[in-house]
Symmetry: C2
Subunit: 165 residues, 2 copies
Amino acid sequence: MPRATKSGSAPVQRRAGHGRHDAGDDAIGLDALAGHAGYAVRRFQIWIFQDFIRTLAAVDIRPTQYSVMTVIGANPGLSQMAVAKRLGIERARLVHLLDSLEARDLVNRIPSATDRRSHALHLTARGRTALAQFKRLAAEHERHVAAKIGKANREQLLRILADFT
Amino acid sequence: MPRATKSGSAPVQRRAGHGRHDAGDDAIGLDALAGHAGYAVRRFQIWIFQDFIRTLAAVDIRPTQYSVMTVIGANPGLSQMAVAKRLGIERARLVHLLDSLEARDLVNRIPSATDRRSHALHLTARGRTALAQFKRLAAEHERHVAAKIGKANREQLLRILADFT
DNA sequence: TATTGTTATACTCTATAACTATA
DNA sequence: TATAGTTATAGAGTATAACAATA
């Protein structure tokens, strides 16, 4: 049978499947979408986050939680505002993120000595030990990225996007 | 030199501000985060989407809506499942996306002739005209991206991430 | 007056599960 | 029994606004 792929007009460019999507998807053209960096970047970002979440599933840490703990670990005593601004997180959202990290005894909110409105953020002893493990797992995830797009391409990507960090 | 990063010590590397973040942020080190492609990709993706939304604000079209209309326009008659799979959107979510596009008379759900469970998706006449305009605005957005990271870098990026489209 | 942390609301998006009508 | 579309729910993430305590 002719395999009318559902539409009247025949789809073109039947490439050999790479297994990226389900069989048959290769026949569906992206048109203008193929020329948009944002589309590729979005799909890539989703892949990266899914791999990160999978790789750190055993320790139940998501990308945002990891970024918050890493920045606090490297800059102990920061205020919530400072962390929120540095990472581009809404300060309202950071409240809940810190609530959950504090409930797990990974982070401490200590009253600031100089400004009674603000909290100085620190990792707990447990948080420091845990973060070391998270970093090892995150490095493993990063090797997955390199394996996926190639080592040189990954480094090229980091250079191109250095201004966004 | 020892340069203890990581903890206990004062943040270093006071670079001249680029205006990327608020003044002072440059003093806050990212530590391991700087080596993670996912972090840079995420920040970049957020920037891109914000610029896209801003550039197409006059026509009230968001990135996902644009991707759906573009794929339907290039492949008229596709089923909802086919569109969802191709773009990596949950089919449950696509229902609402199409509801809003149909309410704006941009897209039509036509009962499939061969399978009474499925709908054949088409742009309306109004949708085709509108999409042409959306594409012109999206091209303008794409020039913003090129201006932001450089023309050559944007093309390099598209090559590196071609497998994710 | 402005800022820090907080609470609250709304909307987008991801991830599921379950239901219906078909196949 | 499997699939297409739909409905519903839960959680992450984004974007706001407003409030209390403090500067």
